[in-house]
């Protein structure tokens, strides 16, 4: 019995001791019966929430009681409706507490006054020839002293034609720009001695000749555009235009058609994931007008991550888009705001609806770029069946098979290799393609007959491998952990774009060779070499608008 008592005492002590650590922390949660809203009640700048604006806070609570407001800047007020002015810009948390009921808190963003700059000229602003001035709007309700400091980009000339880098004063007069692209003009203002947020304007300066436009998607940045001006006048720089549209997570392919750019973004999760619930998809296709003024959503995927749109091809009013590793579907070019589902957007072709299935193509064969050459589909595969699988529409089976199908007569090109992208130069009857097979990485160019001749023999690739002027080839990052993705799914050179006018082929390189910098590059048939277009930029998809224009 004594032993029992001792044990009981020990267990009780242990129990109580453990209870000390596990006491629940009582958290005061917001009360849903307490609610409020706020708005600027001044006659002007009601949506701007400037420093000094009169903001009215109104309790819309169900709960009754005395209202106490904490504005998050160290000041308090009481009453169901109160007004408050913030003295500094920033994000504050406003908390409304109702006696004996609880609280509710919400954020409020207070913006600093900033100068608003716009060009005083509408229409095309052409390099060298167009003279343009600037309108400035500065909210200054307290009539404080204003000090202006302008910063102009390289190549800006004042009204007298002299270089101008900076100007102090409200009106710098008219200027002209010597370089093409987004010319960033910055206006710094001190209001009452206090430095405000910079006013920035990106002036779109057009080329003085009509030339094609290259679009490219920057990693973590925006869609950019570049005028493809060969041999511009000495001293004139052809800089890119920032189109103001986000590239998205992984825009592996972008496609230009008519007056629009179609951006296929396969979303955050483009590599393998065990998407058990089939809801990790966040890819989408957006449509940007050629000047960036309008962006629409064509399709979004909220289902399985593997269904996100990865690669695309446009023909006959249809956009064909691939998923990660099963097949291709189509959507009309005029469709907008659609949600991907397999009822409305069934597979046009799948791995298992081709005779290659089980005879070269396996389940989940990884997709890469695809398109048509002379009426034959070329479908790049980089895992579980490597090569370019060729077929005609007539080869597509109505029902999925498990094997033993009739092999398409077009056959497999680059069998057992990792072709990631290709482009067809119809005018010169040449196909350009990229590989990331170890030791054979790079960009290649050959005729279709030569492509067939290569077969699965990598040694036969050698004569067609393209080089920089220094003799180097282009090697994309394929080291796991350094680039993006792993075996079969590396970003590599994920798209090629042809300028039909001069035969140049453009692409983005994430270089895996320390001796070759990453960047936007091109193969120039005139020089016979791969050349840098823009060094140091990480690029996904590329596309060319072959219609010539001075701007877009």
């Amino acid at each position: 019995m004594k032993i029992f008592n001792y044990l009981l005492t020990i267990f009780t002590a242990l129990f109580l001791y453990s209870c000390v650590d596990n006491d629940p922390v009582i958290e005061e949660l917001p009360n849903p019966d307490i609610a409020f809203n706020y708005s600027v009640i001044d006659a002007e700048y009601q949506i701007d929430y400037y420093v000094g604006a009169n903001i009215e806070f109104v309790s819309t609570s169900v709960a009754a009681g005395e209202c106490t407001w904490d504005f998050g800047d160290g000041t308090l007020a009481t009453g169901e409706t109160v007004t408050h002015k913030y003295k500094k810009a920033g994000t504050y948390t406003v908390k409304l507490t109702i006696a004996d009921a609880g609280y509710q808190s919400k954020p409020i963003l207070i913006s600093d006054i900033k100068p608003i700059v716009s060009p005083n000229k509408t229409g095309l602003i052409e390099v060298i020839s167009t003279s343009v001035g600037f309108n400035v709007e500065l909210p200054n309700p307290e009539k404080l002293t204003e000090e202006y400091h302008w910063i102009f980009p390289e190549g800006t000339l004042d009204a007298a034609g002299k270089p101008i880098a900076t100007f102090d004063g409200k009106d710098p007069g008219n200027v002209t720009f010597s370089n093409v692209g987004s010319q960033v003009v910055t206006l710094q203002v001190k209001l009452g001695g206090r430095q405000l947020e910079d006013g920035v304007i990106k002036v779109p300066v057009a080329y003085n000749l009509a030339v094609p436009t290259l679009y490219y998607a920057v990693k973590g940045g925006n869609i950019m555009a570049l005028k493809l001006a060969n041999n511009p006048p000495s001293g004139m720089k052809i800089n890119p235009f920032d189109m103001g549209t986000k590239s998205g997570q992984h825009p592996l392919n972008i496609l230009f058609n008519d007056t629009s750019l179609y951006v296929l973004d396969c979303g955050r999760q483009f590599t393998y994931v065990d998407d058990k619930d089939g809801n990790l998809g966040d890819g989408r296709i957006i449509v940007m007008s050629k000047d960036g003024a309008k962006v629409e959503t064509m399709m979004t995927n909220t289902g399985a991550a593997f269904n996100d749109p990865y690669y695309g091809y446009i023909e006959g009013g249809q956009l064909y888009f691939s998923d990660r590793n099963t097949g291709l579907s189509t959507i009309g070019l005029k469709e907008r705001n659609k949600t991907l589902n397999r009822t409305d957007y069934p597979y046009y072709v799948q791995n298992a609806t081709l005779g290659y299935y089980g005879q070269g193509l396996s389940y989940g064969a990884m997709n890469a770029c695809f398109g048509k050459i002379n009426g034959v589909w070329y479908w790049c595969k980089t895992y579980n069946g490597n090569g370019i699988f060729r077929f005609t529409d007539a080869d597509i089976l109505k029902i999925a098979i498990t094997g033993n199908g009739v092999l398409p007569t077009s056959g497999i090109a680059l069998e057992s290799m990792t072709p990631k992208s290709f482009v067809w130069d119809a005018k010169n009857s040449l196909v350009y393609f990229t590989l990331y097979d170890t030791g054979y990485e790079g960009l290649y160019r050959c005729t279709l007959a030569q492509l067939n001749e290569i077969g699965s023999n990598k040694e036969k690739l050698v004569p067609y491998r393209l080089k920089l002027a220094n003799g180097k080839t282009v090697t994309p990052v394929t080291e796991t952990g350094k680039g993006e993705g792993s075996t079969g799914e590396f970003i590599a050179i994920c798209q090629l774009a042809l300028d039909e006018n001069d035969g140049c082929v453009y692409f983005g390189l994430r270089s895996g060779d320390a001796a070759v910098k990453s960047g936007l590059m091109r193969y120039n048939p005139a020089s016979g070499f791969i050349e840098y277009v823009i060094e140091g930029v990480d690029v996904y998809g590329v596309a060319v608008n072959k219609t010539k224009s001075k701007l877009f």
């Binding site: 809203n37 706020y38 701007d48 929430y49 920035v200 940045g221 960036g292 962006v295 629409e296 140091g536």
Partner: protein, 272 residues
Amino acid sequence: MAISLQFIACEKHDMMDNDVIVGQMAPQVYWEPASSTVKAGENVPFNVQYYTTSTEDIDHLEVWYNIVEDETKAVSSPWMSTFTYSVTSNKSLEKRISQKISEYAHHPNSWNDSVRAFMFKSTFPTSNTLASVTWTKPATFDNEKMIKYFGNSYMTQFKDSLFKLMKPKDFQKMYLGLNLLDNFKAYIDSVKNENTGGWDYVFPKDSQGNRTTPKVLVDIYSTIPFSDIIFNKTTNVYDVDYSRSYRINANMKAFDKKGVAGLGIVKEISLN
């Protein structure tokens, strides 16, 4: 027992009550902004169709939106040879609650027989203050911007955290690269790694026999400006990236004369 549990559950999670106002016939709204990306400060064009099946006439329509900020920060030091040091952060936060932005009168003569709804086109405003900000790999370092975008203590914390991770080869690369020392030999030893068969680089032993960072190196480190720590000598830029952009979640509300509102679908619009 089961029934009472069900009632308790319903009291806390009444999905019907969360999603609809039972017993009110609200106007139906379908609307479409013209673009999902607009320049901050510009008006957003839209078209709207609406109708009601209730006996109450429609009174007016309102556009409401909230503001969400997306902020990314990345800073790295290119001097490290034994590891990559990069500090990044991505945040998306609601910065202003949904509120009424603009109001549109209902015009009975806007009825369109072909769509069997009232319809019109108009715009709603956005604020210039919500323009996106980017500061990417600048060629000149701006201390004020660094503090403004990253906070007061960021530079000190970055330097301190990096110091704790640096190996002798990292100090060597940084100090020689920044011309802080002519010769690093006095501060580095190599010892045979029996496991790999290669050589490891270590600090020389001090008088206590410990291989700690020599005081000379510590003292020099404290004098290095933060900007030099993140300067990329290969590209001649500072390895700092900051971007801030805003998007709005906009919705159209159609109110009848009793104040009952029907809502459209929320549209996300990015500002640049």
